[in-house]
């Protein structure tokens, strides 16, 4: 089985879906001639032609809105934001239009589209280009929000997203795109991973770590270190933020009675806040210690490398959080 990077898995998913279904096309800034600013669609223009690989003006509002209109009229667009930071410009089209089409029009319309959005910090891109704002998009019913952490999940989830009748925000953690430690066996050809289903990525007995995206990899690194000291962490990868599946997290928490939530977005009002609420609602009697949150500090991302890294989660911070509650 081929071992792919996360980026290669994403490319393969889009290519397979475009080969399978002619109603699927991709549009965005620099997706064609340039091959994608992160080279996700390299070679697509030659393979699929300019009608299906559409370079757009720098116009996020109409890129997102036109994807909605094209989806209503029977095609299945993939609209790429060059980075998720630019999706803020299109916020209205995403949350006030795409997300509302089905319910507001009483189920008459479906809006089968994918907004692809590379995101994440740690690359010294400054305050406006380093966001992990995933949770904001997950706040609105009607939009599905997915963020994979492994190449296997990335391919399967993206194929599922393209086939979904609902609009899907597909958030790709850029720091994982080409990372060798994330490289993974990915089956060639057909399979999908269902949206809205979490996954256990590590078995353990002593503490539950709930995370997703880049958080999975710092959590795995932390778990490997903790294991040397005889502490076994169980790791749940949410994979989807909306719909949110907490079943495995609750089940694991009932076993370990302790939990840490790890995310790369800001701490305040983050996924951790939601998970803490859900765990105490659904498993209050199993609570043996405060549930800890490891997240990006509440500060705009600074440019300076060490300063920026200091604001982001890492394995050491996860280890510290675990030890505080054991």
């Amino acid at each position: 089985m081929p071992r792919l990077t996360l980026r290669e898995a994403i490319t393969e998913a889009i290519r397979e879906e475009m080969q399978r279904d002619e109603s699927v096309f991709i549009m965005g800034e620099e997706v064609g001639e340039w091959g994608g600013t992160y080279a996700v669609t390299k070679g697509f223009l030659d393979e699929f032609g300019a009608a299906r690989v559409r370079d757009t003006p720098i116009s996020e509002m109409v890129i997102a809105g036109a994807a909605v209109g094209a989806a209503l009229a029977g095609t299945r667009p993939i609209a790429e934001f060059m980075t998720i930071n630019f999706a803020f410009v299109a916020f209205d089209a995403i949350v006030n239009h795409a997300a509302k089409m089905s319910h507001m029009f009483n189920g008459q319309f479906t809006c089968p589209l994918v907004f692809r959005a590379p995101g994440g910090g740690g690359k010294q891109l400054g305050a406006t280009h380093s966001h992990t704002p995933d949770v904001i998009f997950a706040h609105f019913p009607g939009l599905k929000v997915v963020s994979p952490a492994t190449p296997y999940d990335a391919k399967g989830l993206l194929k599922a997203a393209i086939r979904d009748e609902a609009p899907v925000m597909f958030i790709e953690p850029v720091p994982l795109y080409t990372s060798p430690r994330v490289r993974d066996e990915v089956p060639e050809g057909e399979y999908t991973v269902p949206i809205g289903v979490s996954d256990k990525k590590r078995e353990g007995t002593d503490v539950t770590i709930v995370t997703y995206g880049e958080g999975l990899h710092v959590s795995l690194a932390a778990a490997a270190e903790l294991s040397k000291e005889g502490i076994e962490a169980e790791i749940i990868d949410l994979r989807s933020l909306q719909p949110l599946d907490t079943s495995l997290s609750v089940e694991s928490f009932k076993k370990t009675n302790k939990a840490v939530v790890v995310e790369f977005g800001h701490k305040t009002y983050g996924i951790g806040a939601e998970l803490v609420a859900r765990l105490q609602e659904e498993a209050f009697d199993y609570l043996d210690a405060p549930i800890k949150r490891v997240a990006q500090f509440d500060v705009p991302a600074p440019y300076a490398g060490k300063l920026e890294k200091h604001a982001l989660p890492d394995a050491a911070k996860v280890i510290t959080a675990v030890k505080e509650i054991l």
Binding site: F25, A51, R54, T56, P57, S59, M61, V62, A64, G65, A66, A67, V68, G69, A70, A71, L72, A73, G74, T75, P77, D92, A93, N96, H97, S102, H103, M104, F105, N106, G107, Q108, F109, T110, P141, G142, K144, A160, R163, D164, E165, A166, T192, P194, I195, G196, P243
Partner: protein, 325 residues
């Protein structure tokens, strides 16, 4: 134009006006309509004349002042009224309300409440038809106030860059809520904005249904020939306020009266029918009383319809995708 067509348009325009007048009463006197209510009185010729020029399959998409378009595409007054009254028999089951009327079967993609946003959706509708290789055109309506928001400029630009089959129909009623075009826009003719994007454009008398129809027919034909987007600036006037509760202090009674007395689209069409097509005043009155009766029935239907069941609240948030998710 054929007499039968003109009579049909007359009937539609009278229906829209009576519909709106009844809505006003149901809102202000009876409290049966809530929320926002944006009335189309004065602008009837535009919805009727433009939609009269479309073929089945051509898309229609508009802003929040959408009752006229909903009726012109063929939605039943009773179901539109039921929607406004928040009933399960409404065109969107009581979920959309006044601003979000729609019908997939009639390729009427709605009523939208965020100024300018639906222009981007129209761009996508037209893109989909070009992508599929059909000859369907998209009719997209908006007020002149929407031409100052980014969506307008991004959408016009993209539509021309890709030569999409969309007719941009600006219903220029001179006021965006209470702010006049002179105060709000550096360029006071919308056709001039279209020229900035190399889009063919034309000023049309929006109170003359025949002129509206003919201009739209030409614009749609150009779209079908692959000539790309077209823009029509329909000069018109809304008689009522922006929405219920607007006392229109930003304009004079003289201005309103001038439009209503000299340019009323229904009066102009009625004169034409009588003077040029041998229609009698009694025939016109008969149409009006028929519409009144139809509206009485519509009000009764909407009034007696049940509200949506509470257990349907969570329906349709996410459509089912069998076999995948």
């Amino acid at each position: 134009m054929e007499k039968a067509t003109l009579l049909d348009w007359y009937h539609q325009m009278v229906l829209i006006r009576r519909f709106e007048e009844r809505c006003d009463e149901l809102y202000q006197l009876e409290g049966k309509i809530k929320g926002f209510l944006h009335l189309y009185i004065g602008q009837e010729a535009i919805a009727v004349g433009t939609i009269g020029a479309r073929k089945a399959g051509d898309h229609v998409i508009t802003a929040y002042r959408d009752h006229g378009h909903a009726l012109a595409v063929g939605l039943e007054p009773k179901n539109v009224l039921a929607e406004l009254m928040g009933k399960a028999s409404g065109v969107t089951g009581g979920r959309g309300g006044s601003m979000h009327l729609a019908s997939k079967d009639l390729t009427f993609w709605g009523g939208y409440g965020i100024v300018g946003a639906h222009l981007s959706l129209a761009t996508g509708l037209a893109l989909a038809e070009q992508y599929k290789g059909t000859d369907a055109a998209t009719l997209c309506y908006f007020g002149e106030g929407a031409t100052n928001i980014g969506y307008f400029h991004e959408s016009l630009n993209m539509s021309k860059v890709w030569d999409l089959p969309v007719v941009w129909i600006c219903e220029n009623n001179k006021y965006g809520m209470g702010t006049s075009i002179e105060k709000a826009s550096a360029v006071n003719r919308i056709v001039d904005k279209a020229k900035g994007y190399k889009i063919t454009s034309k000023v049309v008398d929006g109170m003359d249904v025949t002129a509206v129809y003919e201009a739209t027919q030409k614009a749609i034909a150009a779209c079908r020939k692959g000539k790309g987007p077209q823009l029509l600036e329909m000069m018109t006037y809304r008689y009522e306020g922006h929405s219920i509760g607007d006392r229109t202090r930003y304009r004079t009674t003289e201005e309103l009266n001038k439009w209503r007395d000299e340019k009323d689209p229904i009066a102009l069409l009625q004169n034409k029918l009588i003077n040029e097509h041998g229609v009698t005043e009694d025939e016109c009155i008969k149409i009006q009383t028929d519409v009144d009766a139809q509206m009485d029935e519509a009000v009764k239907f909407a009034d007696e319809s049940p509200e949506p069941a509470l257990d349907t609240l969570f329906d349709h948030i996410y459509p089912a995708t069998p076999g995948v998710n």
